[in-house]
Every structure is written in C-alpha cells, then in structure tokens.
Assembly symmetry: C2
Homo-oligomer: 357 residues x 2
C-alpha cells in the first residue's frame, strides 16, 4: 500500500534521474499518480518500465524544446520534440487554455510526442479556468477498421470535461473501442474467454480469445460488429487520428510508433512521433458562467434522477466512478500489483532512487 505522495515522488525522482528537469518531472509524476488514483492503473505505475526502456533505447528526449510551430488566434500546432508525452501534452493543453482566454476557444494539435497517459487529465486542466476541456490522442495500431483485418488504429481515446456548479464536473474519458487493451491482458492471464464483440481473428471472424492479437487478430471498434454500429466506432477513432496527426503532422494510423521499447521503431513514417489534440472552450464564451453552471447542475441532477433498470442502483454520470475512487484511494492508499512493484524496485536499484518494495 502506497500513498499518493510516495508514488508521486518516486515517479518524479525516476524521471529526474533520466535527465528531465524538475518542472517536467513533476508534470509527468502528476499524470502517472492521477491514473492510479482515478482507478486506471493500466496508465499508472505499470508504464514506468515502458518509459524507462524507451529512454534506455534513446527513443525519448528528456531535454525537449517543446515549441509552437504554427498558430492563429484560436489554434496552434505544437512540436513535442520527442518529449515524454505528459510534457508535450501539458504544454499543449496550457496553450489551448491561453488561447481560449483570449479568443473564446483554443485548439492545439501536437506532433512528435509519445504516450501521454490518461486523456482525461488534460481535459480536466480546463475546469479550474471555467472552461470545457477536450483531449484525444492516437496510439499504436491494434484496432481494425470495420470490414478489415488490418490493425490500423489505436484505442484512440476521447476525453471531455465540463464544469458544473454545486455538482461535480462531467468528465467523460473513454477509448473508442468496446474495452481497453488492458482488459484483454487480464482475461488472458486468468485463462478466461472474453465476450464476442471485442476482438476478431486474422480472417475477421468473431473471436472470444483474449490472446488472439498474438495470432494475427485485432481489436474491434466501439459497436463491436457492423450490425451494432462498429462503423460509428471506426468514424470516431478515425476522427481522433486525423485531428491528432493530420492536423499536427504526426504519424497516423498504422504508422504511429509503439509506446513500448520491445516493439521496434517502424521503418516507414509519415510524420513525427505520436499525435494528440486538445481543446478548451470558455463557458462564458457561450453563456454567463454562473448560468452555464446552474444549467449544468440541472442537467446532472436530471440525469441522476433517471429511473434505474431492474437490478441497477442508479445512472452513473461520467466522472462519478473515478472521482469516488480518487477520494477513497487518497484516504486508504494505493495498492500496486506485485509484478509492478517488482519492476519499480528494479528501476529504483538501477537508477539509484529510493523505493520500499
């Protein structure tokens, strides 16, 4: 069991040892810790080893010159200079917020970045400025477009955070696939099958085998199959990819670089690194801020009062489970998987960083 502070400081120390400046390391540590606190451990401490190995392989720039390469009053393209994704993403979202403060909205497309952790973190950065925040990213390909067997898209998440008044904010953060990749890994380790609609085999037949990706299979887009609207999931995933990479000049689709060092750098590239897309909209660019918040409170309480289905307790407002988890884990502490603790211990030893395993 670890405290938030302990994991935060460990992460900061590791990235500073890699050569990141303290300001960057703090930003990175905050996103890693937020993933653990919000109950998304697949983007938490388990990723430190990936980043460590990418750094060892010279595939991460710890002294990046993250810079604006193009801009208008409400837009910009940011070049992440090969930075840790959280560093490029933080600067990009800050810029979107700065633009929104002046122009009403700000939209930033980022290239030459890496895995940025949980999408929701950046969307939520807008909340304290009374802005709606938006964040999306492409990712290494493992999802096939509808009617295809080629893994050409990442799980390409979309996050949208919307301020409320008395009610907690609305925070949606979801992959454009029925499930996260991590759930396949868990099912495989447990020797369980998965429901149909998550993955297909190498010919495109429905499969319930969570290990099918190792046998030429691929994940499916949200909707699962064509009958249930997987082409809509494909549209969403494609939009994330285009906004993140065609707008910025990053790699798109099958060319997105792997976020783990055990997969080789691709031979072919069509842009620079991984791409993200960020947005910020001042709520008072539409309504008086207090009126917007009142209205959003009413939206949330209206939906909370929806009649539950038989056997269900209540409707979940996007953001509720993660926020509740955060409160609980802040109080109780964060439990890590033994395998993750082992990895952290190994890194701690090699890097000369304190860690109680």
């Amino acid at each position: 069991m670890y405290t938030e502070k302990y994991l935060f400081e460990f992460t900061r120390n590791v990235f500073m040892k890699m050569g990141c400046c303290e300001s960057d390391a703090l930003k990175i540590a905050e996103v890693f810790t937020a993933a653990e606190l919000r109950g998304i451990p697949s983007h938490g401490m388990i990723r430190i080893k990936d980043y460590y190995q990418l750094w060892k392989a010279g595939r991460i720039n710890v002294k990046p010159d993250v810079r604006i390469v193009h801009e208008t009053p409400s837009t910009a393209v940011v070049d992440g200079d090969g930075a840790v994704g959280m560093v490029a993403a933080n600067r990009s979202m800050e810029l979107a917020i700065e633009k929104a403060a002046k122009a009403g909205t700000g939209w930033v497309s980022t290239r030459n970045s890496n895995h940025y952790g949980i999408a929701g973190y950046y969307a939520m950065m807008a909340l304290k400025h009374d802005m709606i925040g938006l964040s999306m990213t492409n990712a290494n390909p493992q999802v096939a477009p509808t009617f295809s067997v080629s893994p050409m898209l990442g799980t390409n998440p979309i996050a949208v955070a919307i301020p409320a008044g008395m009610q907690p904010p609305f925070v949606a953060d979801f992959a454009t696939t029925p499930i996260a990749r991590g759930k396949l890994v868990v099912a495989e380790k447990k020797g369980e099958k998965v429901p149909y609609g998550f993955v297909q085999d190498k010919l495109g037949n429905p499969s319930d085998d969570p290990a099918i990706l190792k046998a030429g299979g691929s994940m499916l887009t949200l909707g699962g199959d064509y009958v249930h609207g997987s082409h809509k999931g494909f549209c969403l995933s494609a939009i994330v990819d285009i906004f993140s990479a065609v707008c910025s000049g990053a790699n798109f689709g099958p060319f997105v670089p792997p976020s783990v060092a055990y997969l080789p750098v691709l031979d072919e590239k069509v842009g620079e690194g991984t791409g993200h897309f960020f947005g910020a909209m001042r709520i008072d660019a539409f309504q008086d801020a207090a009126a917007f918040k009142d209205s959003m409170d009413l939206w949330i309480t209206t939906f909370r009062q929806a009649k539950p289905a038989e056997g269900r307790e209540k409707v979940i407002i996007p953001g509720d489970p993660e926020r509740e988890k955060e409160v609980r884990l802040r109080a109780e502490g964060i439990t890590l998987l033994p395998a993750v603790v082992k990895e952290m211990k190994e890194i701690a030893e090699v890097m000369g960083v304190a860690f109680e395993g």
Copy 2:
C-alpha cells in the same frame, strides 16, 4: 421516380406557401433534397408532413429573426427564434465559418430551433472553404442512459467533414445509437425482430421487439450493453446534448420538444426549443492547406488499402456510400415510398402546390 430538381422545387414551394421567404425555402429544400440524394430518406420527403403539421399547429415560426445573442472571436450563441431547423442551422454554420476565417476556428451553439435534417449537410458546408466542419444536434428523447429505463436522450448525431485533395472528403455522419430510429419502424412494418443490443423493455431487459418503444421500452446508446461499452455511447450522446443545449440555452435531455405534431408540447421546459452545435476549423490554422490535403489523401489511401475481412470487399471510408448514392440518384432519379408520395399529394392539394403523384 423524381428528379432532384423536382423534389427541390416542390419542397421550396411548400415552405414558401407556409410563409417562408424564398431564401429560407431554398435552404430548407436543399437539406431535404440532400437527405434523399445521400440515401437517408428518413430525413427527406417523409419529414415534410411533420413540418407541415407543426406549422399548422403554430409550432414553427416561418418569419424568424435568427440572431446572434452572445459572441467572442471564435464562438457565438444563435437564437433560432423558433425557425425551421434548416434555417437556424444554415445561419449558425455560416457564422461558424465566418468566425473561423478570422480566428482560425468558429463554434456556434444554437437554441430555439427545430429538427434540422441531416447533420452531415452542415458539416459539409465547411469543405468548400478548406475547413473541417462539425455538426451535432439533440433530439426528442427515446434513448435511455446506461443502467436506466428512462428515455432521456435523442439519437443525437455527430457529423464531421474533413477536406482532402485528390481523394473525396472524409464525411462521418452518425447517430450515437447502434441504429437509427427509422430501422425499428421498418422492422416493425415487416413484422421482423431486431438483433439484441438496439432496444430494451420497460424494465431494462434486452429485447428484440422493434415495437417495444410503444410499450415503455427505449433505445440503447452506441455499444448496446454495458459490457460492450454502452456507457461510452452515453458519454457521446450526453456531450452532444450539453454542447447543443447547455451551451446555447436550449432544452436538454428529456425536455427537448418533439419534432412531430402528434406528440404534445411538453409542460416543462428548461430552455428554448431544440439545440444544435456547429464547428469550423480552417485546415491552414494547423498546416499549410496543400500539405494538409496531401496528408489527408495519404490517410484515405492508406485506409483504403486495409486488408478486407473474409467475405468483405473493402474498407469503407466515411462518406463513400453516401457520395456514391448521390451520383447514382442524380443520374437515375429518386424513388419515394408510396405512403410518402400520398402525403406529399395531400399537402400539395391543401397548399395549392403542383405535384405529380
């Protein structure tokens, strides 16, 4: 069989007889005709009777003062003054494009409007300006949030149009439900069952009965059930609702007014009319326009080359089927259902408009 021109002129004539000015009637007719041409007849001529009846019931303002009520350099709120949806939506999307020309992007939330037809039409208005277009709308409630049996959301579509160079544009236009409501109506008329994952009964149990909405059932969000990610479809539908209505001051969720006259006006309201949301982003607000188009061409050709699943011919790029249909129907003419022709004939007689049934 009718020509595009014939249906366009009929629609224009009907709306002019209702009292619309010619400029508004032309815009309305264009969206109605585009729906037929693009193979979305559920939003075409079949809706003329609905609009006629709303007009008869005094629920449509044919002499609207569509006006900007709030703005920043990149945003605006438009009050549609109870207009036919196509009129309010056209003006709003034009405004988003005007804002984008100056600020890089433009975002308009619209209240006090009505059913606006196909979402894709407005997104596509941006293409000729070398802009990415975005359009979404809320709609009368028939969809239940995950874990609930209360129909609180419309089929809330999202449309995104992205310019390319040599390739045709990318045009995604989809409801945030697995299927459109129209498909349930068709299945019911044919006496067929529907696959599970589209609708639920009044207790929230899975159902294959397309008529279940008449018995207290509701439609499900994209994903179908929780296991397959229906909560992500709920997030999407909620975002459409909030951007369209909380941002603009329109009615949201269960308060969205019906788009047909046989359903009564709701007793309670939380805003004005139906809400929409529009966006326009100059492609050269991110990249040199020619470079963006080259890159988008490469995106499209890359995805066209995805290996098809067994028994499938090819991957479909969003927009392909509708564009192919449009070319074919322009050449061959548009066939209408006998029931729709009958309705148009009745309206033609009452309104004194020429129509060959």
